[in-house]
């Protein structure tokens, strides 16, 4: 247990180096404001950052140049992460560059002010949407197809020595279904179901929220108090409770459990949407132009659809992104826990759980171990992408207010 002593020693060394760097910088540059007004903490940050970068670069090069299988296996994931980041960044940059060249004046302007993270996000979302829509063409086999003459439980990685099969790069499951196909179909199922759920949540929460904001009075009080109570129960816990009950009802009613899950999560999530829609609505309702419309004698539907909604699109769209991520993660978590999307539908959360034991192969067969991480990563990548885009949108809209 001496690794933490190394960490402390390293921190002290960095401090000394940082002090020296600042001092040298001051002397060498004739006390320019950059070094003169630099707090010690900032110097420390710079040195630590440079050291970290140095470590990353040397480790990466070392791993690339080595041909020792132990080293290769050990740094396999490290190399994948670094190269993945570079590839993603490059793809995002190219995408943004293309976006600046083609399209209308409006979109080109949009791309010009876009940070790399946001363009990465948009690109990723587009790829997912593509995969989800064309899953049937992309996947080599059907998601429920139990392949004849193919062994069940083929290990992922496609390495025959480890029990894999190159025809099934991600292996097969206990029934002999191709995992790669199931991963691709997962985009359709997991993303599609999450999208549908979010839409339902927005329909319920948005309608009620705007009604409450516009009408006020007892309806607002009643809905808001009800939402307060529902929000006092942590959402995942509440979802698990309701799923337990639904799992008893589902076979009796002959309705798939997945439908129950969509409704349950949509209702739970609609409370959050309600809060936002109501808050946004209230902000707009106090505007003088709403008062002017009321005094003109306009009806409720004109007020909501013509005056309030057009001004609520921007915050609602950002919230839609965030809610989608939340719903998506909740569904993935439920599936991971075994009570979410039900077989035979292919789904990423379930796949992670089913494949999780392969992670222990990492030290000697990294390609085998990457299978569960691929499914989990597929979930993470999409939510990260959506969050990047939403973050950019929020920053843009808050910047406009200034």
């Amino acid at each position: 247990m001496s690794w933490w002593m190394w960490i402390i020693a390293a921190l002290v060394v960095i401090a000394v180096v940082a002090y020296a760097v600042r001092w040298v910088g001051q002397k060498a540059t004739g006390n320019t404001p950059f070094f003169r007004d630099m707090p010690f903490g900032v110097a420390y940050g710079y040195v630590a950052g440079v050291l970290l970068l140095y470590w990353i670069v040397t480790t990466y090069i070392g791993a690339k140049l080595s041909d020792d299988p132990i080293v290769l296996n050990k740094y396999f994931f490290f190399v994948v992460v670094i190269e993945g980041l570079i590839v993603f960044a490059a793809a995002a940059w190219v995408f943004r560059f293309l976006g600046r060249l083609v399209g209308t004046v409006g979109t080109r302007k949009l791309f010009r002010s876009m940070p790399l993270t946001a363009s990465f996000g948009i690109l990723t979302i587009l790829i997912y949407a593509f995969a989800a829509i064309f899953a049937g063409w992309l996947a080599p086999y059907g998601q429920e197809a139990i392949l004849q003459g193919v062994a069940a439980n083929i290990v992922p990685g496609g390495n025959p020595a480890m029990g894999g099969n190159p025809d099934y790069p991600l292996g097969t499951d206990q029934l002999g279904r191709d995992m790669l196909s199931r991963l691709i179909y997962g985009a359709q199922n997991t993303v599609g179901i999450a999208f549908a759920t979010t839409c339902l949540a927005f329909f319920i929460g948005g309608t009620l929220g705007f009604l409450a904001a516009t009408l006020g009075g007892w309806l607002d009080q009643l809905l808001s108090r009800a939402v307060d109570v529902l929000m006092a129960i942590p959402s995942l816990i509440f979802a698990l409770l309701l799923m337990t009950i639904a799992s008893v009802w589902a076979p009796q009613l002959g309705i798939p459990l997945t439908v129950f899950m969509v409704i349950i999560i949509a209702v739970i999530d609609s409370t959050r949407v309600y809060r936002l829609a109501r808050a946004v609505g209230l902000n707009i309702v106090v505007m003088d132009y709403i008062e002017a419309a009321k005094l003109r004698g306009e009806g409720l539907s004109y007020l909501i659809f013509k005056e309030i909604l057009p001004n609520a699109y921007a915050p609602l769209l950002a919230e839609f992104g965030l809610r989608f991520c939340f719903v998506f993660l909740t569904i993935a978590s439920l599936s991971f826990l075994g009570v979410g999307i039900q077989p035979p539908l292919a789904d990423w959360g379930t796949m992670v759980r089913d494949l999780s034991q392969f992670i222990n192969f990492a030290a000697f067969a990294p390609s085998v171990a990457s299978a569960p991480l691929l499914a989990a990563g597929a979930i993470a990548l999409l939510t990260v992408a959506v969050n990047f885009v939403v973050d950019w949108m929020l920053q843009k809209s808050s910047g406009l207010k200034e």
Binding site: I245, I359, L373
Partner: protein, 332 residues
């Protein structure tokens, strides 16, 4: 102090009321189950005598309102009823009741303590780290540090807990065997060993919670630093340190406390998935197991406990931020 005491009492009352209504919601939800509990426990092949015996044991022959108050009264006294599960949880259970049902409280108590330990370790790492980093990011906003931190926190917020857990297992347990990947904790374990086994789940939760907390702290501080009185303090020629400590911090306290409490409440939910990944014997895992085998009394009790902790933490945030508000503390 009269006014502030009144507000706090109001909030406490409101919190209690919310908890009461939540308990009704949970009880009603469970009572929406088709058929009856006894059938559910014993399955289709049960003899009518056995079902009748269980029905009596559970008091199912009485009205739901009576049963609700009995359940609630029991819950207040710490008696959460009997678990449906028989043999498989017997080793965890305390005293067995007449018909072979084990007490829910006996199952939950040790696991609840374990979960609290996990949450405590997480909080000890996450809170200082997140608040510190959040303040730094706010002070050096739009710097390289801030931008990288933004990307990292966004990514870690967006990732599912199990993804982060497996990444940590991959790098810290499998590739570099520093920490154990399974958290098989039992009673009578030495503290240091217990801590070591808890560290990986705690780190996973830390990643998620720190990211949230750091972003919220950053936003709160930036909001604060934009206020005219901070500009005034700078224009008085005070040192940056003094501006932060004397002028920003007293006002930042309320929002930061709020952020911490909100995230500890968030921890309550996050704990479920992480406990399952690391096979950590906490209340979250018990909850998920009970959900799978439809052990309704345990599910109901766990749900109530989670909700109570959640409400309590939100209430604490509310009250602490009232107390730290000078306008309320020093009324006109």
């Amino acid at each position: 102090m009269g006014a502030i005491a009144k507000i706090i009492l109001q909030r406490l009352g409101l919190g209690l009321l919310t908890l009461l209504i939540v308990s009704i919601v949970i009880f009603t939800a469970v009572n929406m189950l088709p058929g009856d509990f006894a059938q559910l426990i014993l399955g289709q092949g049960a003899t009518p005598e056995a079902i009748a015996s269980i029905r009596e044991d559970l008091g199912l022959d009485r009205s739901p309102i009576v049963r609700y108050f009995e359940w609630l009264g029991g819950a207040v006294r710490g008696d959460l009823g009997s678990s449906f599960a028989q043999a498989n949880f017997a080793s965890f259970a305390g005293a067995d009741t007449g018909s072979g049902l084990s007490s829910v409280a006996g199952q939950i108590a040790p696991r609840f303590a374990n979960t609290m330990f996990l949450a405590g370790v997480t909080a000890c790492i996450a809170v200082p780290l997140a608040v510190g980093l959040g303040i730094l990011a706010a002070l050096y906003r739009n710097s390289i540090f801030d931008r990288i931190a933004n990307i990292f926190t966004l990514s870690s917020i967006s990732s599912p807990e199990f993804f982060l857990a497996y990444i940590l297992i991959l790098f810290l347990a499998v590739l570099n065997p520093i920490l154990p990947s399974l958290s098989n904790i039992y009673d009578g374990m030495a503290f240091s060993e217990r801590l070591e086994k808890t560290l990986l789940p705690a780190l996973t939760l830390t990643l998620v919670v720190t990211a949230h907390m750091m972003r919220m702290t950053r936003a709160a501080i930036i909001n604060l630093l934009a206020s005219p009185y901070i500009e005034m303090a700078r224009l008085k020629g005070l040192s940056p340190m003094r501006v932060i400590v004397k002028h920003a911090l007293p006002n930042a306290l309320a929002p930061i406390i709020n952020v911490i409490a909100l995230n500890l409440a968030f921890l309550v939910t996050g704990v479920v998935v992480v406990e399952v990944v690391f096979v950590y014997p906490g209340i979250g895992q018990l909850f998920v197991d009970s959900v799978k085998i439809r052990d309704i009394p345990v599910v109901q009790a766990c749900c109530l406990i989670f909700a109570a902790v959640y409400i309590l933490l939100n209430l604490t945030a509310d009250i602490l931020s009232i107390i730290s508000n000078p306008r309320l503390r020093h009324p006109k």
